[in-house]
């Protein structure tokens, strides 16, 4: 299949893997963070880690937008959905994220009208078809999905739709990366920068990482060869003692981002002073809310949102796992209080989260490591 198979060529992968191995200094361990959940998915789906030498560890970053939504926000969304005449619409991957009283799926089973959509524009369609209902879109995601939410709000405003609003949970990636960089026990050597986010914000926002923190960044695409090449580029910088921002995904990511998309976000949304992230706590200026001008589309103002805060359980050490300080099994609640069926922290929520992956496949991974060291 065109545009797919050429980025999954095993021969090219072997060649890249050999070059990556050549760049490893003997005795040195490398921890590279892939920021984006999409990268984690690719790495897992294609078994990409099989190509990496044992010295390189990939740390799965905070870039899974559904996993970082704190429990309290999920609870708020459920309260919204339970209001009379409300139809809540949501992306599919949000459906299984647990609040303190189950997930959207569970709420749906209790009779709440929650519908899965592929695009916020589908929510608009539902709003038009159900003029006697109040349709709320559960807006989640980084700068990747924020423009489509913004465009939807603009279109709703244009059409004068009165029964549509958004529950805005959009977050921004840079403050989260900064929070990780500022942590005193940071153990990361470099970053695979988020590809889709960068199509919107461009590569410039990452310059501080290279300049102020001395860590190389390579904005990476989502096919497996994209990621291997990006790892190679990171390793090359590390070998040469450099730290700059490079763009591997140049076929999609313009250095300066997408001005039209940024403008739409800027027109409809503004930064919140604080926002809570599951596992990372409160991070300043890390999320977006609807601008006052578009208040009639802001579900947080139209409805009475409980604003319940459900603190991450103290024993949850997601933050440390995210930062690569702890291995999943070293977390205090791993495998007892926190399991894939009853996940507490972000790393367990997504099947690709570091903890969920370890819970399901940890024994196998160990076995493989053992076999590899024996041979």
């Amino acid at each position: 299949m065109r545009f797919v198979d050429e980025f999954r060529d095993a021969d090219k992968a072997h060649a890249l893997a050999a070059r990556i191995a050549d760049l490893c200094e003997p005795g040195r361990q490398y921890k590279l963070m892939e920021v984006c959940g999409g990268h984690t998915h690719t790495i897992y789906k294609h078994g990409l880690e099989d190509y990496l030498p044992e010295q390189i560890t990939l740390v799965h970053g905070p870039g899974c937008p559904v996993c970082v939504i704190p429990m309290g926000r999920v609870d708020d969304a459920m309260a919204l959905a339970a209001e009379p005449d409300v139809i809540m619409t949501s992306f599919g991957d949000m459906m299984r994220v647990p609040g303190s009283n189950g997930s959207f799926f569970d709420a749906k089973a209790r009779g709440t009208d929650i519908r899965m959509v592929y695009s916020p524009l589908d929510s608009l369609k539902i709003a038009r078809q159900n003029p006697d209902k109040r349709v709320v879109f559960m807006a989640i995601g980084f700068e990747t999905t924020a423009p489509s939410t913004a465009m939807t709000v603009l279109r709703a405003a244009n059409e004068g739709l009165k029964n549509f609003s958004i529950f805005c949970n959009h977050v921004t990636i840079v403050p989260a990366i900064k929070a990780i960089l500022d942590s005193p026990d940071l153990r990361l050597d470099g970053f695979l920068g988020p590809g889709h986010v960068s199509t919107v914000i461009g590569c410039r926002p990452y310059e501080f990482i290279a300049r102020d923190y001395g860590k190389p960044v390579v904005v990476a695409g989502f096919e497996p060869l994209d990621i291997l090449q990006s790892i190679y580029m990171l390793m090359l910088q590390l070998a040469n003692g450099q730290s700059t921002v490079e763009n591997q995904y140049s076929r999609v990511v313009p250095w300066h981002g997408n001005v039209v998309a940024l403008r739409a976000i800027g027109q409809t949304m503004e930064l919140r002073p604080y926002f809570e992230w599951r596992g990372l706590g409160f991070i300043s200026h890390s999320a977006l809310k609807v601008r006052e001008q578009y208040a009639s589309f802001d579900a947080e103002l139209l409805f009475s949102v409980p604003g319940v805060r459900v603190a991450d359980p103290k024993a949850c050490q997601c933050g440390e796992v995210l930062k690569g300080v702890l291995k999943p099994w070293e977390c205090k609640v791993f495998g007892t209080a926190c399991t894939p069926e009853t996940p507490i922290g972000t790393c367990m929520v997504s099947p690709e989260g570091a903890c969920a992956a370890y819970y399901n496949y940890g024994r196998l991974t160990r076995q493989r490591v053992k076999e590899a060291t024996r041979s």
């Binding site: 999954r8 429990m71 949102v305 459900v310 495998g335 209080a337």
Partner: protein, 414 residues
């Protein structure tokens, strides 16, 4: 209740915090503490670390954690949800738990226990297969078929997978008030045609009408009886290391067709459902070779779910190769766009066969000799281990684990 943006860690929300601390989190943490305490006690009373507790070496601690997970996995399945969710019907982990914890627990008997597609009964020297299935597909009519031929083929296939020749079917209709009679006639006509093609007769039935809104147009249940003439005792538990795993054709056609036919995605592709009766294909296969250990039709949950059932039931490993799994370009393309994996997408006219490797070539030839098996392929093998785990050699050259999904495959945004 507060209205407006909750932007900061408000200090006034202390009671809210207490209220918000999820019950299950508290329970889970209690469970965890209990665990810790017991492990500590065991350590304290054990001969290794009497006196001041010393931290265990990393590898030992990791092993303890892994053992704890294994214990939890072996524990009796329990339905934790208070209500049925859509996941319980998706064919994955949630369905499995529901079946084992609720149905098997209540009805337990040796005929039910193998949880095969059909029960095998011995009556006066004859071996019969008995099965039932309900059909609730939406839309009722889709490219390549409709609920009518699906209801016949699905049950015929469940019989065929137990090695039986399908003979008689029942059909029960649940109709919603207001359902067009013309549609019903169309459905019944296609059932008649499908029954004829499969060589079965529909010999008994039932009709119920429910009020508008109590059903989605038309639901059909069919049950079927077949005669097992071969000596072979088929079942996924019979899989042995070294066995070949064969699929009878391209996977995922039906599921993708249905997703696109719902018209919610604005994606068009030239695919149609693969719904077909597999009795003939199976008869040909069993006539050619004695090496068949198990047959399953890859419906809900797709091929991935069948492979997991093999690995679990036979306590073996399974290794398949992505390059060898036939998937149509249209299905692959749609799956890439939707962010789902064709391995989990339903088929309605494809089977997975576990075959003694010595007979793999003749089994493949027998399947390919039939029009429904022309694109049959060996996709992998049963392995010694790791037990209970299905692995996929990716086209990219890596390996990954193909686990059971909890519920339906969900589209991803990230």
């Amino acid at each position: 209740m507060t209205t407006g943006h909750l932007d900061q860690p408000a200090t006034k929300d202390a009671p809210a915090l207490a209220r918000g601390s999820a019950g299950w989190v508290a329970d889970a943490l209690r469970e965890h503490d209990e665990h810790e305490r017991r492990e500590q006690e065991a350590q304290d009373t054990g001969h290794v670390h009497r006196g001041s507790p010393q931290p265990l070496p990393g590898t030992v601690r990791e092993e303890l954690v892994l053992e704890r997970i294994d214990r939890a996995r072996r524990a009796r399945p329990r339905v934790k949800e208070e209500r049925i969710t859509m996941s319980h019907g998706a064919g994955g982990k949630a369905t499995q738990t529901l079946i084992e914890a609720i149905f098997l627990d209540a009805f337990r008997n040796p005929l039910l226990e193998p949880l095969e597609d059909a029960a095998r009964l011995q009556i006066n020297g004859s071996r019969l297969a008995l099965t039932t299935d309900s059909y609730v597909v939406r839309p009722l009519f889709f490219p390549g078929g409709d609920i009518g031929d699906l209801a016949v083929n699905g049950t015929v296939n469940d019989l065929a997978m137990s090695g039986a020749v399908p003979l008689y079917l029942s059909s029960g209709f649940i109709l919603e008030e207001g359902f067009p009679v013309a549609d019903l006639s169309r459905i019944v006509a296609s059932m008649r045609a499908a029954a004829q093609a499969a060589g079965v007769q529909i010999v008994t039935g039932d009709t119920k009408v429910v009020e508008r809104g109590k059903a989605d147009g038309c639901y059909i249940n069919t049950a079927g009886v077949g005669l097992i003439e071969h000596e072979t005792d088929l079942g996924v538990a019979h899989a042995r290391p070294g066995d070949a795993i064969i699929v009878s054709g391209p996977i995922g056609d039906h599921g993708i067709t249905i997703m696109l036919a719902r018209g919610e995605l604005d994606i068009e592709a030239d695919v149609q459902s693969d719904t077909a009766p597999l009795g003939g294909l199976v008869a040909g296969l069993l006539a050619q070779t004695t090496g068949v250990r198990a047959l399953r039709d890859a419906t809900r949950g797709g091929v991935a779910t069948i492979l997991n059932e093999i690995a679990t039931a036979a306590d073996v490993g399974v290794m398949v190769s992505e390059d060898d799994i036939p998937v149509r370009d249209e299905v692959r393309g749609a799956s890439e766009l939707l962010g789902i994996d064709p391995m989990y997408v339903a088929c309605e006219g494809r089977l997975v066969a576990v075959v003694d490797s010595a007979h793999a070539a003749s089994a493949l030839a027998a399947l390919r000799a039939h029009p429904l098996g022309e694109q049959a392929a060996v996709i992998g093998h049963v392995t010694d281990g790791p037990r209970g785990i299905v692995q996929l050699k990716t086209a990219f050259g890596g390996t990954r684990i193909v686990d059971l999904l909890v519920g339906d495959p969900l589209p991803r945004i990230c």
